[in-house]
Amino acid sequence: MMKVVRGFYAVAYSVKLCRPDVICAYPITPQSEIVENIAQMYANGELGNCEYITAESEFGAASILVGASATGARTYTATCSQGLILMSEVLWNAAGMRLPIVLTIANRSLSAPLSIWNDHQDSMAMRDAGIIQMYVENNQEVHDMMPQAFKIAENHKVMLPMMVCMDGYKLTHAYEPVDLLNQEMVDEFLPPYDPPVKMTTKDPYTFGSYATPASYMEFRAAVYNAMERSKKIIEDVYKEWAEVSGRNWGGHIVAENCEDADVCVMAMGSLVGLVREVVKELRGEGKKVGFIKIRTFRPFPAEEIAKAVDNCQKIIVFERSLSMGSDAPVTLDVKSAIHKKAIDVYSPVVGLGGRDVPHKLVKSTIEEVIENKAKPGTYFKGLKDYEEVIV
């Protein structure tokens, strides 16, 4: 059923159809409206036996879900920014304990200075935790992703938390037409959670054991390998979704016009729409430019990217976050994916803390690279001249 809805509602409605058992969250801008909408559904008695808990902090929310997930419940939360990094201790723990908690991240910048606006710094800070991360470009995609996220995370060969990342405000608060899913179809696609092991007095296992040097390394390797294994499972789920929903969002990446491109341009999240449009324009002007949308960020689709850029000489990665003291996060992975190829990587950092990324800026940034007017490496675009003074 096609309806014009806001992003947060598209998420809440989809989560409801996934029949979670325990939802727990703490408000934070611009995520709050997701859980507010879920709370309303709960108040209306639309969530069945689901327990909806208002936690005392994001840290508490993630912890509650650890207990619930270990007990065999399908679990969900949404957060972003400070809330996500407040959760981080518990989320690392949940990944190590192999608990398939699903989160929606309403991507927002990190303090200081405080900013409620969008970039990808928050989810990037969770990069190494053992949490599957994927980024959506619009509200239909996030609506479609929630059932897929549960299916991926809860797969017995995976058993890892998963974050579906959507740009705060830009998507969460945007009105877009969304073809709303129906319960029958989601039920068909997503069976109830069948935990491979759970806390029960019938079979009293010990969860969260500590490991000595005699086994710690094997457990960490097991998380690493589960993440590797998830690559195939994620792809299968993406494919299955395309079949049942009729909407094909592609695989880990979506490469357009890359076969003959000299320059491949990459983006993640809501910037995808604009960058794709600019690349098309440039194509129309006869420039040999291709476009790659990165959907899955963890596990990183290195092989897919290496293959897609095989014929190009330059890569542009539009970055929405920083790794202080090194290249920006996506660039680091892209460079490692193509390390055997002689390709220059340009990493314009744009739109931090909600800074506008106009069409003109994207276009000129790409043109500069095409015209050899830019230097490879990490640099800022849309940055004002500034001078740092004490006060």
């Binding site: 190590g96 304990m97 192999r98 608990l99 058993m159 491979p196 092991v197 009293p204 296992y205 010990t206 969860f207 969260g208 054991s209 500590y210 490991a211 086994s215 094997e218 457990f219 097991a222």
Partner: protein
């Protein structure tokens, strides 16, 4: 090696760990003094004392006395201190006798 999903452990595998060699002392139950009150049982931090039947008393009632499982006893002496009937005395292990 086999490892479990998320380091889940099976119950009560600690029983494999014989902590009986930790201490320098060990308790000896003086059966004739033991009233079978069970105080030592509730206090023992290593859950290694139980009451066992040892026939009947004069009135024909089942008589129970304390019995230590030396596989786990750490020789802390708690049982000997809490026993109100002087039925447990601590001895130094052969190994540590001077």
């Amino acid at each position: 090696m086999k490892i479990t999903l998320g380091a889940v452990s099976r119950p009560l595998e600690s029983l494999k760990i014989k902590t009986g060699d930790w201490g320098t002392e060990y308790p000896v139950i003086i059966e004739e003094n033991c009233k079978g009150c069970g105080d030592c049982v509730v206090y023992c931090p290593d859950l290694c004392i139980e009451l066992v039947e040892v026939g009947k008393d004069e009135k024909g009632k089942v008589r129970k006395v304390a019995k230590v499982n030396y596989d786990y006893c750490k020789g802390c002496g708690t049982c000997s201190v809490v026993c109100k009937h002087e039925a447990i005395k601590m001895e130094i292990k052969e190994l540590y006798r001077g």
